[in-house]
Symmetry: C2
Subunit: 390 residues, 2 copies
């Protein structure tokens, strides 16, 4: 079991009617605020007005970066950085889902850099500082509200690159109000839930010395939370208990607490990033299609124990079954949850993806070498997993 | 389900050989360090020399506050505050268990106050700032390394008062090295484990709207961790996996994450504080004797569901049993764990406590009114619970 550094400084206001603290928290960092948001739903549903009312009340000035895309693009980051420099922005406020928060994070870093923001993603420029970031998260999925990471896409190069800059990109303060997620569509609720589940799976399926029992129990609890409440949220979008559990689970699935001991890289996320870089699909949907195939591909005598634990402790598979049988059952139950309960599409075919780009996507996912996950995967392995998704 | 603010900024270096980061982390806050410690075991086992070597290497100066008592006394806090003022201390480093860290916390606050430090405990003076606190935690029990609270005793008044000052008393950085807990005695390991378990129980046994499913799963995981690894640590004191799981569970049992939604005060802790204020017993032992009696006293039709969940999810009690039977079994299994597995004494009689002070202790525990826990308790209720412990 390795040593680790735990460092999650984000303060979180959780629950309804917490926005009254927004002005005060922003004012700690300055008076000129850049509000980042997406396609404008926050203007229609009144959230934008609530936010700017609080900003006004605190005597602050705001500017806007709007139109941030799902799978946010580097052009938005460059545009945001330009506003920061031109307007002397002190603090960034992201209002939206993970895409908006991710874009805000890299904008905050790019504000201190004179070149193309893509240089951050390619590590040509390695930021050591960023403008302070606050956010109001409106989607339970990426957990970008408590972590130091983000993912940015470049349509010109068909690249989608994600990484973390701990100590630089963590939001200072996040506002998580489950009632703001009531209006999330059935489809996005399902994709978001698949994303949360995938984050936990990525840190749960690690070699024995990559975790610890206490954290395994937390991870199992987070997965059980998604399995219990995603269907409730689909059935009753305004169920506070369900939305609250999903939202808090989303943050803790990826804020670094549970994954802290993990010695190896993730598997399904790198594969999915290549998919959505080319096909611009919803991240959670790509993960939902890939995950059970990846599970099936890597299940063998060396990995069976972890699948057994997963099946028994998360899905309540009968502990007295032979290990391999319980493991296989756990994969079937994962499928049932993703494609049955969540109602997500289950194959590439259904979303218009064929094998045209398998080779190039697989090569990129393993960076031409090996994807060092729970079970290390070479290009040919990844191509086979893609083929299982057809 | 209420709203809450989550704010746990402490950075943690977890694992072996992390002390190499100590000098750098202290230097962030200044050059004059007050090292707080207890009876001197850290001088015998070499830890003091390791710590001062790191401080020297970073070019810092240190002063010492030694002899901090288990159940730390206000005299030590006053003494520490005096050193801080006289020597112009910049930063406090606590090296020891919860008592040392608690004393360091209130010393850090008292350094900015000219009166008696007891005024902080009686809320005559309410601190809004404190010197920065770092710690090296050597005992898995109180979890004082990540929270904003502490408990201080006053032998003159026979008072023992504990509370939190969020935003003021949280340590900036904690070093948790499980190997430093290898030398903790069998008795203190048992008492510490009982303390961790009690912290989780206090926040698990709350009214339905005082928790959320996702956090309940985390709490069950923390309790299972104590139940699994305390006996391993007793059997093999140098078992890293056991010591690491207990240590990280200790921090998370009380750092505010799991208890965040709790709407009501704790029950067993206030009762135990009165016990150890008069009899100076080990806190964890007092909790171990009280907890199952408190459970038995409050178990009825209105609380049975929580006990059932506890029994089934933590101790693996047969879920098909009638609720009340499963609940009663869960209390029996708690007793078996505390008095059997951990080998702790099970009655007041065995530790020389009779009914002489029951009335005054009960009155103080409920502050002459009602102790507003899971089941509100009046003085007469608390006296009955004490009597059950004889």
């Amino acid at each position: 079991m390795s040593a680790f550094v735990y460092d999650i400084p984000t303060k979180v206001y959780f629950g309804e009617n917490q926005l009254e603290h927004l002005g005060k928290e922003l004012a700690v960092y300055g008076s000129r605020v850049l509000i980042c948001y997406g396609g404008g739903s926050i203007k229609k549903n009144g959230l934008f007005d609530r936010v700017t009312a609080e900003i006004k009340k605190a005597g602050l000035t705001w500017f806007e970066l709007s139109g941030i895309e799902p799978n946010p693009r580097v052009a938005s980051v460059n545009q945001g950085a330009q506003i920061c420099k031109k307007e002397g922005i002190d603090v960034i406020l992201a209002v939206g889902g993970g895409s908006v928060i991710d874009c805000a994070k890299f904008t905050a870093a790019a504000a201190f850099y004179d070149g193309d923001a893509w240089d951050i993603m390619t590590m040509k420029y390695q930021p050591t500082k960023a403008l302070p970031i606050l956010d109001i998260s409106t989607l339970s999925a990426t957990g970008s509200d408590m972590d130091a990471g983000g993912v940015i896409s470049n349509p010109d190069t068909k690249d989608k690159i994600g990484f973390s800059i701990p100590g630089v990109l963590q939001p200072k303060v996040s506002f998580l109000d489950p009632t703001l997620t009531y209006s999330v569509s059935e489809y996005q609720t399902a994709c978001g839930s698949a994303d949360i589940l995938s984050h936990v799976i990525e840190s749960y399926f690690v070699p024995q010395n990559g975790s610890m029992y206490m954290l395994d129990k937390v991870k199992e609890g987070l997965m059980k939370t998604v399995i219990k409440y995603a269907p409730v949220a689909l059935e009753e979008p305004n169920n506070y208990e369900a939305r609250a559990n999903l939202q808090w689970a989303a943050s803790w699935a990826i804020n670094g607490f549970t994954g802290v001991l993990q010695n190896c890289a993730w598997s399904c996320h790198p594969m999915e990033h290549e998919l959505s870089a080319i096909y611009d699909i919803t991240h959670g949907l790509g993960l939902a299609i890939l995950t059970p195939r990846w599970m099936k591909y890597i299940l063998d005598e060396t990995t069976v124990e972890r699948f057994y634990e997963y099946g028994v402790n998360v899905f309540g598979v009968d502990a007295s079954l032979p290990q391999m049988e319980a493991a296989e059952k756990s994969i079937e139950m994962t499928k049932d949850f993703l494609y049955g309960t969540l109602g997500l599409k289950s194959t590439f075919g259904e979303i218009g993806i064929d094998d045209t780009n398998f080779s190039i996507m697989a090569k990129k996912a393993c960076q031409g070498a090996v994807l060092p996950g729970f079970k290390p995967l070479k290009q040919e392995d990844i191509e086979k997993i893609f083929a299982m998704c057809l």
